[in-house]
């Protein structure tokens, strides 16, 4: 039976959101004025940052309203620090070093971003969110028989933690929302 990730729009928004540091860096480096005017570049960048983040916040609100909660067993977990490092090396640094001085460079970087999104989408690596990371969220991988489950939480999961109740962002990404009374004992 086919396993679906569910909520593809939110998954896409999480992916776009994970690329927001790249958009900011591209904005800082700038694009040749002959290709796109500076102010439009920043309009596009702000849109690419705000819309996905607001979409995720709306999804969190809907999950809270619907009590879209799942109990996750945390007996076998690992902290995903290395993913952030891999993300930095494979996505941010190579794309940042591209200078956009002509239309071909622009198409090149857009193509590269498209392929990065395509690969991250297929690898289900849409959980890296720098805005959440700044708020103190860490991402844990939970062992599951059939699929990888990722939990974004502000608390440290130790050996004593057996079950955590968290809100579903997508079928494989869950979040323990700040200030929500989960009754996690």
């Amino acid at each position: 039976m086919k396993h679906t990730e569910g909520l593809p729009f939110i998954k896409f928004m999480m992916l776009i959101s994970s690329l927001c540091p790249l958009f900011i860096l591209v904005g800082i480096r700038g694009i040749d004025e002959k290709i796109i005017a500076e102010k439009y570049v920043w309009y596009i960048i702000v849109t690419l940052i705000v819309i996905p983040f607001v979409s995720i916040l709306i999804r969190i609100k809907v999950a809270k309203r619907n009590r879209d909660l799942f109990t996750l067993n945390t007996s076998e977990t690992s902290l995903n620090k290395e993913y952030l490092f891999a993300y930095l090396l494979t996505v941010l640094l190579p794309l940042y070093s591209v200078a956009v001085s002509g239309k071909r460079d622009l198409y090149g970087i857009l193509g590269a971003i498209f392929f990065v999104i395509f690969i991250l989408w297929n690898l289900n690596m849409h959980f890296i969110n720098v805005l959440f990371a700044f708020s103190g969220y860490k991402v844990y991988t939970l062992t599951s028989n059939n699929a990888v489950i990722l939990l974004s939480t502000r608390q440290h999961i130790n050996a004593d933690t057996k079950n955590i109740i968290a809100h579903r962002l997508s079928n494989s990404v869950y979040i323990e929302i700040k200030n929500y009374q989960y009754d996690n004992k």
Partner: protein, 136 residues
């Protein structure tokens, strides 16, 4: 008991495709969770209302429609339910239920109590199938 008496309530379905059994949890909203708690309450009320002690279930015995029975999960023919109870992090899947009715073995609800223990309610899908077929 109300939904607030539980830390969490989840709904899931067991499918059997080509002799392979798979469990999936299905995202449901609060109204469905409340209905599941209601079903649980109805079951416990009926179960407690039956006179007599709890007896061990025997496959070869003939029983009436309502009897107080229990069975150890370590039976070969209960492997699926045994797996369900011990399976951690059952994958969540947005399954098109009406199109997978013929594969549906049973549906279940997992109740996580405030003391950390869990109860799993399992039900045959006859009514469930009829309801879904009505909606098709």
């Amino acid at each position: 008991m109300t939904i607030n008496d539980f830390r969490n309530v989840e709904f899931g379905v067991c499918f059997r495709v080509d002799d392979e059994v798979c469990h999936y949890k299905i995202p449901v909203d609060s109204s469905v969770k409340e209905a599941l708690v209601e079903m649980r309450n109805t079951f416990t009320d009926l179960y407690d209302a039956i006179d007599g002690d709890v007896c061990e279930f025997e496959v070869s015995e003939k029983y009436s429609s309502s009897e107080k029975l229990r069975i150890n999960l370590n039976q070969d023919y209960l492997a699926s339910i045994n797996n369900l109870y011990h399976h951690q992090n059952i994958p969540v899947n947005n399954i098109d239920l009406p199109n997978n009715l013929k594969h549906t073995e049973y549906y279940f609800a997992e109740f996580l109590h405030n003391n950390g223990s869990k109860t799993i309610g399992v039900k045959r899908p006859n009514q469930f199938k009829a309801l879904l077929e009505k909606r098709l």
